[in-house]
């Protein structure tokens, strides 16, 4: 964990209500894809957790959906705004057992955090497949970013306005993957945990947090190994670990 002051250098809308913030600062605290950052938003008492969607060359990338008071303030922040951010939080994805053909599955704002993971897996020589789900074409995120890595994501929309109709979990049926990495809504993660037919499954969870670094026990979930903190022992949990 590292505390630092970051300066907003870019704020762009990616889809209705979803903004990408580029923040300049010391990104050396980020040690693995799948970690999160905890942002102190002026006007909010508690920090807000967001998955890291990039941390390279002193620029931290966060993709934020406006769902409440804090995210409304954050998505409205202008270049030049300075934010106190804790980085390097959480365990992050375990890339060591990804195998030849990892399948990356994202739902909504869970998709962008898979982008740095995808880049890392490519560097390790894997050939990742990517399946992303959104409510509609309008809400789709990060398709071009994955394409820039040379990956054509399989897209699923609930209303069928883009790609295939339905949920990204359908991608599991094709088989042939050696591992699954997923970030998205809890029901999607629970379904993947049930249905994925491979030994390595890495699921990135969300929970309301008090501190984000393991001190308050606010985010604890039940796992088969007993109570675990999403912020410190997670947010990534393995196959069959979480008691849904």
């Amino acid at each position: 964990m590292k505390q630092g002051i970051f300066t907003v250098i870019k704020n762009e809308q990616l889809a209705p209500g979803v903004h990408r913030l580029r923040l300049e600062g010391d990104t050396s605290g980020v040690t693995s894809p799948g970690q999160f950052a905890d942002v102190l938003i002026p006007g909010c008492f508690l920090r807000r957790p967001f998955s890291v969607c990039g941390a390279e060359g002193g620029v931290l990338t966060l993709c934020v959906r406006n769902t409440g008071r804090g995210t409304a303030l954050l998505t409205a922040s202008s270049p030049g705004a300075r934010l106190d951010i804790l980085t390097g939080l959480g365990n992050g994805f375990d890339l060591s057992a990804a195998g030849e053909r990892p399948l990356l599955m994202g739902g909504g704002t869970g998709s962008p955090p898979l982008y740095p993971l995808c880049a890392s897996l490519l560097r390790l020589g894997a050939r990742p497949g990517v399946a992303l789900g959104y409510p509609s074409a309008e809400a789709a995120l990060y398709l071009d970013e994955f394409r820039s890595l040379g990956i054509e994501p399989e897209v699923y929309t609930l209303d069928g306005s883009l790609g295939m109709t339905g949920l990204p979990t359908q991608a599991l049926r094709a088989g042939g993957y050696t591992s699954v990495y997923a970030c998205g809504p809890l029901p999607m993660l629970a379904a993947i945990d049930r249905e994925a037919d491979c030994p390595v499954v890495q699921l990135s969870l969300e929970a309301r947090m008090g501190c984000g670094f393991g001190a308050c026990m606010g985010c604890t979930i039940e796992t088969k190994d007993g109570p675990r903190r999403v912020c410190k022992d997670g947010p990534v949990f393995g196959k069959g670990e979480v008691i849904w």
Binding site: L40, D84, F213, C216, T220, K232
Partner: protein, 305 residues
């Protein structure tokens, strides 16, 4: 050079700053980012006889100037704390820690207290009779003078270390309860615990917290803490650990003027992991600003005249 040291129930502290129970885990997370030996002491998470998962999620909500929690005393149980956490603490903190003791019966309070009493690393036994989260648990004891007296008496008889009773603010007359604890031999009092509170989500039309209500703490409760420490200081002669919403060295001085001998820092640690360290390092300058040479001189200072 100003002198920040204070004495809490006979034990010297290099300064009065003590991170509060439940906001500092067992110190590990903080020891990873700064040297905890700068602190006066720190308080362990509330500990029961057996492991407890705590309350259903969500356990955290936010207020305009504070946090609501309904963690519900999640802890691994006293034996695990003694076998696993205390040895780990020995690796990064050379002082004595405050053990926070919870129970759902007099017998449980006594058994947990006895176990911590035999640990040389534990300097004080803070008996939490006030946690508002657990139905039929802490609340029952801490909200009546009789209940508070019973727990104090039972624990006081069973142990040798100083017993500091931690009071809940969710009562009509905190002085009556403070008096009852003192009469039964409490060596100190610690206040305030969290204030019973609630948030409702207009979208779901349901309470935000899984257990409906939770305890509010943070800057929102600071003036309440000052008032209660003031009142209790007027009522009893034993030392007080004042806490509730502290986030700066100025707050520390204010609570000490109200009557606190030591000062707990809670929610501030969760928002800023360096908060307690930074309060410690800001203290000398803040003392200079107000012409304070010896911090002990200002304890209860607001009551003179």
């Amino acid at each position: 050079m100003v002198n920040t040291s204070v004495k809490l129930c006979g034990e010297e502290l290099k300064n009065p700053i003590i991170p509060a129970s439940g906001t500092f885990g067992y110190g590990r997370e903080f020891a990873g980012i700064y040297d905890l030996n700068c602190l006066g002491s720190f308080t362990l998470k509330g500990t029961t006889e057996r492991p407890r998962f705590g309350n259903p999620r969500p356990r955290i909500a936010e207020g305009p100037s504070g946090i609501l929690n309904s963690v519900g005393l999640q802890n691994p149980g006293v034996d695990t704390v003694i076998e696993r956490e205390l040895p780990a603490i020995a690796g990064f903190f050379s002082g004595k820690v405050v053990a926070n003791i919870c129970g759902f019966s007099l017998g449980e309070y006594v058994r947990v207290a006895e176990k911590f009493d035999s640990c040389p690393q534990v300097g004080w036994l803070e008996v939490n009779i006030s946690c508002p989260n657990v139905h039929g648990g802490g609340m029952g004891f801490g909200t009546t003078a009789r209940g508070a007296a019973e727990v104090t008496r039972a624990v006081r008889r069973a142990v040798k270390k100083p017993v500091i009773v931690k009071l809940t603010p969710n009562v009509t007359d905190i002085c009556e309860i403070a008096r009852a604890c003192e009469a039964e031999g409490a060596d100190g009092l610690s206040l305030i615990n969290t204030v019973l509170a609630m948030r409702i989500d207009p979208a779901t039309r349901r309470p935000v917290l899984g257990s409906m209500t939770g305890g509010l703490s943070g800057p929102a409760v600071f003036p309440l803490a000052v008032r209660m420490v003031w009142q209790v200081y007027e009522t009893v002669g034993i030392p007080i650990i004042g806490m509730g919403g502290v986030r700066s060295a100025a707050d520390v001085i204010e609570l000490m003027l109200a009557g606190a001998t030591a000062v707990g820092v809670g929610a501030a640690n969760l928002v800023d992991p360096f908060a307690s360290r930074d309060i410690v390092s800001a203290l000398p300058e803040e003392m200079d600003k107000f012409g304070i040479e010896n911090l002990v001189d200002i304890i209860g200072g607001a009551h003179n005249g």
